[in-house]
Symmetry: C2
Subunit: 179 residues, 2 copies
DNA sequence: TTTGCAACTGACTGATTGGTCAGTCAGTAA
DNA sequence: TTACTGACTGACCAATCAGTCAGTTGCAAA
């Protein structure tokens, strides 16, 4: 078993359950059945471990918008993004929670600032490109509103409301983004 | 000067800047020029101080949706909510950031769970009531989507994007919710 | 004045933390 | 065999933390 990957897996789970600040390195190592020194050997610091985790999850975010959409109707492209998001929301619920938590926590936000900036501008540009085909004049503002709508749903589903009617909302959205 | 209120003010500011877990009680007291024991005298624990802060901010959230709307057009009521939110977003930017951070941090989320639940169901019911006048059959789902849209905008403005076009988005929203 | 009580202080403690470091061990190339 | 490497260990340390407590102060009621 690869102990480095094991550390990433265990730490991700613990960070989701307890938060980054509230998860001692010793707990990660006990859970992963690995010595404490190994974390610092592989990742240099606790912060380094966090960055490694965040870089891993960045790939999954990219997947949501990077579906090959060449020659597709732009509305279909928007619907693809919506559907991918809803699938990922249910599959990787905890990972999304962790992402939000890391972005909102001032210390981790600072630590991951560059990665977060890259991520968000990547998504913005991707959506802008699609809206360029629909409504070029208002592409920017419509992209911001499209992203806000999806982020708001994710936020409410993951952390605010219990019994969130995710499927119904997905249907409504798909209907809304069908020309 | 009321030292208890002084503690709440200073702690709020520091929690926004550094996060709850990363703000030692000693730092709060040094900044507020107050002895450490006083925190435990007034609030019993660091967690108690946090709850006191969160209860204070709950009032501000309630204000957004509690404008007296009797006899108003339901669309006007929705526009009132939108406008109040945008005003508050700019006036109390840091307070909103703190709220999101506390909700997303697993430990503080658990600590404030009851208050968060009260808050969100209060808002949901308020919006539901308005949509009951517009589209009774879909009042629930449309309320969830209305709230998600606003929450998403707040989230993106406060923590994701720099240079967020808040005014333009407000105009778009107002236009959208004008029957 | 005396009594009583809440506000307030700051030195102190026990527990926990991230990080270090000297050294072990398995594998591999010469 | 020898020399070397990088994964791995766990005892250890300095620093930091939330919370305690014995005592002081200021004020209001009797």
């Amino acid at each position: 078993m690869d102990k480095k990957q094991q550390l990433i897996t265990v730490a991700t789970q613990l960070f989701v359950e307890r938060g980054f600040e509230n998860t001692p390195v010793s707990l990660i190592c006990d859970t992963a059945k690995v010595s404490k020194g190994l974390v610092f050997h592989h990742f240099k610091s606790k912060d380094g471990l966090l960055r490694a985790i965040f870089e891993e999850t960045t790939k999954k975010v990219a997947d949501i918008s990077s579906i090959d959409n060449i020659n597709e109707d732009p509305y279909q492209q928007l619907r693809n993004i919506i559907n991918s998001l809803f699938v990922q929301l249910e599959v990787d619920k905890t990972l999304f929670q962790l992402n939000l938590h890391l972005i909102l926590q001032p210390k981790t936000r600072r630590l991951l600032n560059d990665l977060i900036g890259q991520r968000s501008s990547y998504i913005l540009n991707h959506v802008k490109h699609i809206y360029g085909l629909i409504d070029p004049e208002n592409a920017t503002i419509r992209s911001y509103m499209f992203i806000a709508e999806l982020d708001g749903i994710a936020l409410n589903y993951l952390t605010i409301f219990e019994d969130y009617p995710l499927q119904e909302i997905q249907q409504q959205l798909i209907a809304k983004y069908t020309k």
